[in-house]
């Protein structure tokens, strides 16, 4: 059913919180995502011309880099882009077959590949470009929030998080329930002023991004010369006199 599930109070909303302050743009989240998902529930994620010019394929996570601001206040920001598991997910409601759906129990947006006819209307409806068409199988694919990891009792408990979160070397990606104001991720969003992308679309994304911190720019004055230390005085006699006179 492609109608959206009704929101109940205290609704569980699993999602990601991505810290743009600490992301270094290393692409490990994208790589680990590809690695896990090409053998997970949406497997395989096809690659075309993998070993020649024009290599391209289906990825659920794309890391852009932007420049923002000017001069000393300007920043280079690395920006991972993936499905935001919107509350108001137009990709779900436009689906004519019921292949696209939003889970009532945790808010994850998924595609049932066996029902997908490959009309690609959902990719058109997504404002964020989160869905990529598998031209090999003729079905739409997208981030599953690693639904086959986060509930998977066959892997150690500490690893029951999305692959992108697991692999991030700087801890820039956080996973949790954004519907619960007391969860770690919700507290992080509140503390750091987390925001949603393209709020004007009214898709109500669940994922949040944390803004880069404002770093204090040092005063651009004249450099101050360091005073000589006792070890700068080579002669032991003069060093002794310096010690006596300094008292």
């Amino acid at each position: 059913m492609t109608c959206l599930p009704e929101l109940v109070p205290g609704q569980k909303k699993l999602g990601l919180v991505i810290d743009l302050d600490t992301c270094v743009g290393c692409q490990s989240c994208a790589t680990n995502c590809k690695e896990w998902n090409t053998s997970g529930m949406s497997a395989p994620l096809p690659d075309f011309n993998a070993y020649s010019a024009g290599a391209e394929g289906v990825w659920f996570n794309r890391v852009h880099s932007y420049e923002a601001g000017e001069g000393a206040a300007g920043k280079t920001v690395h920006f991972p882009r993936s499905c935001l598991h919107c509350e108001n997910a137009a990709c779900v409601t436009v689906c004519p077959t019921g292949a696209s759906y939003k889970r009532a129990e945790d808010g994850i947006v998924l595609v049932d590949a066996d029902k997908c006819i490959g009309c690609q209307l959902c990719a058109w409806a997504c404002a964020y470009g989160a869905r990529e068409f598998d031209e090999d199988e003729g079905v739409m694919k997208k981030c599953t929030l690693c639904v086959d990891r986060i509930y998977n009792e066959n892997i150690p408990e500490a690893q029951r998080q999305p692959a992108c979160v697991n692999s991030c070397p700087t801890g820039a990606r956080h996973f949790g329930d954004l519907g619960d104001p007391e969860s770690d991720v919700s507290k992080l969003v509140a503390a750091r002023g987390g925001f949603e992308l393209m709020p004007e679309m009214d898709y109500k994304p669940v994922n949040r991004y944390l803004p880069p911190r404002k770093h204090v720019v040092p005063e651009q004055g004249k450099p101050v010369e360091d005073a000589p230390t006792p070890m700068d005085i080579k002669s032991s006699l003069l060093r002794f006199m310096d010690k006596v006179l300094t008292r």
Binding site: Y66, A68, T97, G118, L197
Partner: protein
Amino acid sequence: MKPAGSIVFFTVASGAGYGLLFWLGLLGAGGLIGGDGIFVLTVLALALVLITAGLCASLTHLGNPQRAWRALSQWRSSWLSREGVAAVITYIPAIGSGLCVLGGAYGWAVLLAFVAALCSLATVYCTSMIYASLKPIKEWAHPLVPAGYVILSLFSGAALLATLMALVGEDPSVPALQALVFGGLGAGLKWQYWRSIDTARPLATLGSATGLDRIGTTRPLDPPHTEANYIMREMGFRVARKHALSLRKITLWAGLALPALLAACSLVIAGPLAALLLLVATLLALAGLLLERWLMFAEATHTVTLFYRGT
């Protein structure tokens, strides 16, 4: 957006077929269709052939066309599903009216053809709403888009019916007048639509898409991948956009205004010359509509291109 040839053909062919079916039902109910049963059946068959050819073409756009039947299930939320349901339902009264003509039950035939006319209108409206409901594409989520699809479908259908009536020696003035009216309406609407999308404010900016407007002006530095991908090919279509202005003029004058003018001329000229004028008008209209639908895609911009190009 990348123009999908199958969908361009589908909306033009089925649009003309539904338009033809609409006028057949409406004018038939008003007793304004001349000719015998054979003529009515021919018109009906042509409408259904156009509709079916378009629907078959649209299936080739699908990654898994053998599952297309599943698209009839989600009519509660999806305009594409509603279009599918409306398209299937339209066949029932349309074929029913044809059978009644064959069986000589003309009263029932007129009634069923009228029902088919209403269903045709509903189907074209559902098609238009598939586009008009896509918020990230401002050229599609535009209030004039549904009106445009309906008016242009009625225009091409009226031109077709007038041509067919003139070819068999019937007086085509009623459908020719409709072709004139809806051609004029269509030209005015497209002119207004293009003026409106040219001056429309962007839906979002790279700053709001990334939230980096908190820091300042945002610009792309490094792309996430060095080669193209599905998103860039499907949503980032830019080829021939530079020719858009001349293509608009050709659509407006050769595809809409000229056929309307030819239909007007046919009103005062009788006989084989009128049939020739209407035939030329119909061919021009259909070619113009193919161009118009191609432009609908080529000129449409998607918010995802903000992430890649910053605009």
